[in-house]
Symmetry: C2
Subunit: 344 residues, 2 copies
DNA sequence: AAGGCTTACGAAAACGGTTTCGTGTTAATA
DNA sequence: TATTAACACGAAACCGTTTTCGTAAGCCTT
């Protein structure tokens, strides 16, 4: 086992000082050609690589960024992560991921852990529980320490930081308008319990669209499903469809949409003739569902890339003294992807 | 902006030495009650937390583990990651993820970057290109430096390290036997170009099953699709189905299976009556496909948990001098989950 | 009163680098 | 020949901890 070699080893071996070795490896003007060549050759031979931790301590820069997301087995979040990772890597940063599991406590713990020097900044989407509690002190503490933070998708107005979003409300409105244009009369809103910020925005888009036509909002057309992917019960959905005679459904995520499509099909309804569906999140399910699902593409990868860019810019400008502190909110335009679950 | 406070600050403020502060915070016997209380109160007031980087440097332990996977927008890998992350977190470790993107070079670069002190050990699945090149020097260098490594799923015999696997070959054999039991005569093998280790094993299981019945292997029943999830062309698959009159298909992943099911349905074939399907990876697609897909569950989360456990044990035993170095390979049993794409 | 033992603390080294500044040697200049 | 500048290098501080070891002060013992 050949342990990693350090400057000290090289210095001892070559009978020069540590400083000389350090400078020689950086090709400093101060050091003679001879010495530089000798040192560099030796370093290459023994495959010297500087220790990242020591450099981090010296520079007070880790070149790590912390990403905290509610879930990892999740198409949208992994897509965003991909964007983050690619951009960050290309800029020489590594990414430490923590999963909050939709739990406030885990979010806090992970954040505090990483904030003690492990990362230069955070990119995160709030956990459901955090949004429910409306408690953002852990975020504030971090930003007050001068650690940059970028929120994406699941953001909160209460937190002063950079943000990246999509136009959830507007695209939802467009989607529902599309259904209305196609003559749908009784459009269901399939959403979660209302603490989730994004679900709320999408619901408001749904209301907007109805208001555009001066249609009354029928509370009976709204069904709330638990925000757990597995173990969704078909019975209430079927009961809902039977009772309300809906002819279209706007769902706040693709899982809900596919699930509901299946229930409708089991009831003998034809998609999109009898009932049409629109979902959110252009994931694998939407593409491979039967019929394929019309859905809103959130452009997660781009979102991640932008978040990473914003964060790294902040990290690298931090000129020490407190800046103007003008935070940006970047809104990306989502895209409606039309497939077979709506009439073309 | 209140910057992080250090031992030095506390020491200066309280007019004691840094060592005293350090010891007081650790409740050392050496320090008087009075001083301890004073220091601890002050530390709490200013929310002192030790700097992780400094501790890492001192201990030569980062409490970080590096995970390198070929892809992140991928159900199986994220599932494994979830297992890793949960176990690691619970043990006080953080996880740095790098995505090799199926590229050898990226794998090497990421590994070297992290190996310079950023992590205490690695958990990884080999990139496709690495398996194709059969070049594992980057892994050997890391292990020779005494950094523990655990490979999962995509492993290589050439690398001496701990491994976690599923019984790919055996479960594939069982799956194909199930199809044979149900009277299928012409069973297709839908696989990738052959460099992928796991595809190979699954193919061998397919061969095994046929040999069990003394059936000849018909090369015409094997179709190889490109290992890219998107943009698969339907034409060759349809041509294949038409020409070979297959009555079942064993697919090495769920994407292939769902894709092929769709092609078959478009051709007017009934599933499972005319043709039945079995896939690998019990992901979302399998559950929500129409019909639902019979598939092999790889128990990714458990796999990740075990990998993390093995790694952390290695990391924490490292008694300095080179141990016996007996590596383990843990083989998990996959499970065949029967759904509607095969006859029950 | 001298020696020994606690008690309570500080100095300093160490982890592995970077960087500033000081200095001995040589060569160029007056 | 004396002065000075350039060159090449080393000492030491620093980043924030931990930990070993040394020691001053106070008390007890005989």
């Amino acid at each position: 086992m050949k342990r990693k070699i350090t400057l000290k080893h090289i210095a001892r071996e070559l009978e020069v000082s540590i400083s000389t070795v350090s400078k020689a490896l950086k090709n400093s003007e101060e050091i003679s050609r001879d010495t530089k060549e000798k040192v560099q050759a030796f370093a290459k031979l023994y495959n010297y690589k500087p220790n990242n931790v020591a450099i981090s301590l010296k520079n007070k820069r880790t070149k790590n960024i912390g990403v905290i997301i509610p879930e990892i087995v999740h198409h949208f979040f992994t897509t965003v992560f991909r964007g983050i990772e690619q951009y960050a890597n290309q800029k020489g940063y590594n990414v430490i991921v923590c999963v909050s599991d939709e739990s406030f406590d885990k979010e806090v713990i992970n954040m505090e852990l990483l904030a003690n020097g492990s990362v230069d900044g955070f990119i995160m989407a709030l956990s459901a529980e955090t949004q429910l509690k409306n408690d953002y002190n852990h975020l504030k503490e971090v930003t007050e320490q001068g650690i940059p933070l970028v929120l994406f998708d699941r953001v909160a107005d209460e937190v002063a930081c950079d943000k990246v979003l999509i136009n959830d409300r507007e695209i939802a409105r467009q989607a529902v308008n599309k259904l209305l244009d196609q003559g749908r009369k009784r459009i269901a809103l399939v959403t979660t319990d209302n603490y989730l910020n994004v679900s709320n925005k999408r619901a408001r888009g749904y209301f907007d669209a109805l208001e555009d036509r001066n249609q009354e909002i029928d509370e009976n057309l709204i069904i709330k499903l638990p925000y757990t992917y597995l173990g969704m019960d078909k019975v209430p959905i079927q009961a809902f469809f039977e009772k309300e005679k809906v002819d279209a459904a706007f769902c706040v995520n693709e899982m809900f949409a596919v699930h509901c499509m299946r229930v409708a099909q089991d009831m003998g309804l034809k998609i999109p003739e009898d009932i049409s569906f629109i979902g959110f999140t252009d994931g694998i399910l939407s593409k491979y569902a039967n019929p394929t699902l019309t859905t809103v593409a959130q452009h997660g990868e781009q979102m991640g890339e932008i978040a990473a860019k914003m964060l790294i810019e902040r990290v690298e400008q931090e000129n020490g003294d407190d800046e103007e502190e003008i935070f940006q909110t970047k809104v990306l335009s989502a895209t409606l992807i039309e497939r077979d679950s709506t009439i073309n």
